[in-house]
């Protein structure tokens, strides 16, 4: 039995018999080193740590002040204290809501439930630290039609309750297996993905469709369905049948009802069809209830990847015999512990980030060629690209441009003088208009830096379109020009090049500059006629650097 949330700042380190999860993580990761012929690199610096943990738990880079204070703090338990502070903050729940929205909806456009409604619902679940399996069970059963229930139903509703999309995504996102090929035939490469697994899963959702409630909102209804019929595209005449089943699990029993008594109330065009036995409810119970090990394993692997930059099964939805986990025992221990903690997400994440594995530097040990260190060894920290949301918030934080951003939003609203006159007379409407405009800007970032709707975020890549935006976008260029007490305005007021360097590096890259970097900066400032322009050029070069674009 492992313990979660065991280590408090003041507690002594526990002995091996009662090793906490983060100690087990380190032991099992280290046990793998010989396989890849690697050794662990050193612990990351305090600067690297505060940037990484703040991005991971809060979704943005730390402020220059927080970074400076953390580096100066002499307390030996400061990392644990910072972790606990960040986990207790509402911004952790918000960050998890965004991360789970992106994981579960994959940037699909809104259909019946807005992203705001859904994220609010998720955020409440994370604020209250509801067991993750209970949250998922609510998403999968989606039987409630009150406001809360409708939000939870987004997973089905905004996929237009399309059976093929749902089966595939339930497999990928909740069980870590991609059954796409098994939709049409047994998987050609992997003997563990069978055609009947796809159809066994499809029975759970085949009877579901939309129902418009009297209040105009969309909800789900269900026709009782018992089995699915299927045939391989390679042998279309040979039809087979299956009842509901979760992957290789047994076919599940559906109780018999006398004819005419299958429904709570006889369904009509006006009466929502609700069977006495709901297959979605059955799916929710069986998938999250402990008898489907793939669920805990998948969720543990996803949270691990969120923090460690790579799954133990990688890609996250490709768990099959030909793609085994890099650390099978570790994955089993994580899944067991997560399940035994009753899916305590906050406690689980806490253990992950307490580990030395998480706190390793992204810099290879000296004398070792970094390219020879296998990413799946976790001997060196894996770098992650900032998500569109992390990038936007970090850009605003780095350049202290929140005020400039607000002004840009207001300027955009003022473009329509008539509408503006109306808005400025009504505070509530004005706020709503501001929020809508901001959402537009966020959407612009997501379209540019996010994945294709319906696809998971892949490996870090960079496109010319993104880069041109970072280099030349007029709104972004304004954040870098000295104004409204933003970063460059404050830097221009400094005389000494070392002070310039210190403020710029702390604000943008969350660390102190090195001596060589200060001399480079001095050279640059001397070589340029226009000091203000020179400072803007310099700050942009940090913003546009790989060090800023990556969580390292």
């Amino acid at each position: 039995m492992t313990r979660l949330s065991s280590l408090r700042a003041t507690e002594p380190v526990p002995d091996e018999a009662t090793a906490s999860l983060h100690e087990q993580v380190d032991q099992l990761v280290e046990a793998g080193f010989s396989r890849w012929e690697v050794t662990a690199t050193e612990r990351c610096s305090d600067a690297e740590f505060i940037r990484r943990i703040t991005l991971d738990l809060k979704g943005t880079i730390p402020t220059a002040e927080a970074t400076a204070a953390f580096i100066a703090d002499a307390s030996p338990t400061k990392r644990i204290e910072l972790i606990d502070r960040l986990l207790a903050d509402e911004s952790f729940a918000r960050r998890m809501a965004v991360a789970f929205d992106v994981t579960l909806m994959e940037r699909r456009p809104d259909k019946y439930v807005t992203s705001d409604e859904w994220r609010d619902w998720l955020q409440t679940a994370f604020t209250e630290n509801r067991p993750l399996n209970a949250t998922v069970a609510q998403i999968l059963s989606a039987n409630e039609i009150d406001d809360d229930g409708r939000r939870a139903a987004k997973f089905y509703l905004d996929r237009a309750v399309d059976k093929d999309v749902l089966v595939r995504d339930i497999g990928r996102l909740f069980l870590g297996v991609d059954l796409q090929c098994a939709q049409c035939h047994d998987h050609p490469d992997f003997s563990d993905y069978k055609h009947e697994h796809y159809y066994g899963l499809s029975v759970f959702v085949t009877g579901s469709k939309t129902f418009k409630l009297p209040n105009g909102k969309m909800a789900l209804q269900e026709t009782l369905t018992r089995e699915a019929e299927f045939a391989s595209v390679f042998a279309p005449e040979d039809t087979r049948k299956t009842g509901p089943r979760l992957l290789a699990g047994d076919v599940l029993e559906i109780p018999e009802f006398p004819e005419g008594e299958e429904y709570v109330e006889k369904p009509t065009s006006k009466v929502r069809s609700v069977p006495k036995f709901s297959l979605r409810e059955l799916l929710a119970t069986k998938l999250t209830g402990g008898e489907t090990p793939a669920f805990a394993r998948n969720m543990a692997n996803r949270l691990w990847a969120m923090m460690m930059g790579r799954g133990i099964v990688h890609p996250l939805d490709a768990h099959h015999v030909a793609n085994p986990p890099s650390h099978p025992e570790l994955l089993a221990a994580l899944a067991k512990s997560f399940q035994e903690s009753e899916f305590d997400t906050r406690g689980f994440v806490r253990e992950l980030v307490l580990s030395e594995t998480y706190q390793r530097s992204s810099i290879a040990p000296s004398e070792v060629d970094p390219s020879t260190i296998a990413a799946e060894s976790f001997a060196v920290a894996n770098m992650k690209g900032l998500s569109p949301e992390q990038l936007l918030h970090s850009l605003l934080e780095a350049t202290s441009s929140h005020a400039v951003f607000e002004k840009q939003i207001e300027d955009a609203l003022m473009e329509d003088a008539e509408a503006w006159a109306e808005l400025s007379a009504d505070a509530e409407k004005l706020d709503a208009a501001r929020d809508a405009k901001k959402a537009e800007r966020v959407k612009e970032f997501i379209t540019l830096f996010g994945s294709t709707p319906g696809r998971p975020e892949g490996e870090f890549q960079a496109s010319v379109t993104q880069t041109l935006f970072l280099a030349n976008n007029p709104a972004l260029v304004e954040w870098l020009e000295p104004r409204d007490n933003n970063l460059t305005a404050r830097i221009v007021a400094l005389d000494d090049a070392s002070d310039v360097g210190e403020m710029a590096y702390l604000s943008v890259l969350s660390r102190q500059p090195e001596a060589e970097e200060i001399s480079l900066l001095k050279e640059h400032l001397q070589s340029r006629d226009n000091r203000e322009a020179a400072i803007v050029e310099f700050v942009w070069s940090l913003i546009a650097s790989a060090e800023f674009r990556l969580n390292h």
Partner: protein
């Protein structure tokens, strides 16, 4: 597969080695050929560099008013058919110029798809990815070509000359943003190509130099795959800024500007020629406004009136410049239009049969494949499924459509595994 040449992870090395093995064994190579195979083999392939030109007629081109006319029937509408350069083959009179180059084209009159989503976007995805959108998202052809035909050049692999208000989108699915289409909205240069007035060239050079130094420092003793990919995107961006004349058709001879026409679509076709001549692998030109639920005949009169001449001019130019034999040309649309003519003279969406046109690289031209019945309500000969066509588009440029994209632990088939290319269309 990860398209990053700098990535040295062992799993990639394995897949590279096995790919090389496949190639040597005679299977058609799938992947970034130029980079992966032995230099001498790569230069062989480079000599025969293939390009692709896609015309997307957005909204649903009517087969009756273009390549499968049915004059004097209950469904045929008011237009006549005209003879083409291929004896016995007739097009609608709305395409007089295209008719003169029918000998350079292959017409498929029996294209179909089943379970097509009602939306234009969904149906378009089916045609452009070769898979039903329910199984997607999958990468569009442009990103696929930019991946499998990628050349060692600083140019973007895949450019979409789009109507106005058509912004950048992530259309590369699992191939990633690196291969997403560079969108020229309204035929204008890419967004943010022009640097703001506050930054002069001097200043730009200075900040790029500082950026590069910062990246070099950061990359010391770290894995370099991410930072090199990031740096490369800045290199490509500054190349593009330097080459921004590439997007300026007024740099083409005045005579050519007149030949193509000064309207948007004419300019877009001339721009496509300019991009192909510079070496861009895949260029797509989208022409809008074919969704004629009302006034189908007036709409097609107007739209095809605009389309016909520049399209023909571009094919002829590619031919006289010796580029056509290495450039696959396709004219696609998301579905056909109904045989039945609605009371307000419209035709609705019709996925059971429509027409597609191919030409250039690898294509058996001068013929018609498939047929529909006398009034165009059903296919009577050689039905061709959209997924078969997707295989054909790849096979035509020498890419094995039964191959896979290697993506870390996952392999994604290029074409739908249960389909294959249409042999009759290929040389």
């Amino acid at each position: 597969m990860t398209r990053d040449p700098a990535c040295q992870s062992t799993s990639h090395l394995v897949s590279r080695r096995s790919m090389l093995g496949n190639l040597v064994a005679g299977a058609t190579g799938v992947g970034a050929i130029g980079r992966l195979v032995h230099p001498s083999v790569a230069s062989e392939i480079e000599k025969k560099k293939k390009q692709v030109l896609i015309f997307l007629l957005n909204g649903g081109l009517s087969q009756f008013e273009s390549f499968d006319p049915k004059p004097n029937t209950d469904t045929g509408g008011p237009f006549r058919q005209i003879a083409t350069a291929v004896p016995g083959t007739y097009f609608s009179e709305l395409m007089p110029h295209t008719a003169t180059i029918a000998d350079k084209l292959a017409v498929v009159r029996s294209m179909y798809a089943e379970k097509v989503p009602g939306s234009h976007g969904g149906a378009r995805d089916f045609v452009e990815t070769g898979r039903p959108p329910q199984l997607g998202p999958n990468p569009l052809m442009g990103p696929v070509y930019s991946t499998v035909l990628e050349q060692p050049s600083e140019l973007p692999g895949n450019i979409h000359i789009a109507p106005s208000r058509w912004g950048p989108r992530q259309d590369a699915a699992f191939l990633g943003p690196r291969h997403a289409s560079l969108v020229l909205s309204g035929g204008r240069p890419p967004l943010n190509l022009e640097r703001p007035e506050s930054i002069n060239e001097d200043s730009d050079d200075a900040r790029y130099r500082l950026r590069r130094i910062a990246d070099l420092r950061f990359s010391q003793r770290r894995r370099t795959a991410h930072s090199e990919a990031y740096s490369a995107s800045y290199d490509r961006a500054s190349q593009l800024i330097r080459k921004r004349d590439l997007f300026d058709t007024t740099k083409e001879p005045e005579k050519d500007q007149q030949r193509y026409g000064t309207h948007d679509f004419g300019r877009h076709c001339l721009l496509a020629r300019r991009l192909l001549e510079t070496g861009v692998t895949c260029v797509k030109v989208t022409h809008n406004n074919y969704d004629s639920h009302m006034e189908n005949f007036n709409f097609h009169l107007e739209q095809l009136g605009e389309f016909d001449r520049p399209f023909t001019t571009l094919i002829q130019d590619l031919d006289t410049r010796g580029m056509l034999e290495n450039t696959l040309v396709m004219l696609i649309t998301e579905f056909g239009r109904t045989p039945a003519i609605q009371p307000d003279l419209g035709r609705d969406h019709w996925p059971p049969n429509w027409s597609v046109v191919l030409g250039g690289c690898g294509i058996q031209v001068g013929g018609v494949l498939g047929a529909t019945n006398a009034n165009g309500t059903e296919i009577t000969d050689r039905p061709v499924h959209v997924a078969e066509m997707f295989h054909t588009y790849l096979q035509a440029v020498g890419v094995d459509p039964t191959g896979v994209h290697e993506l870390g632990g996952t392999r994604m088939p290029l074409g739908a595994p249960e389909r294959s290319a249409v042999k009759e269309l290929l040389i």
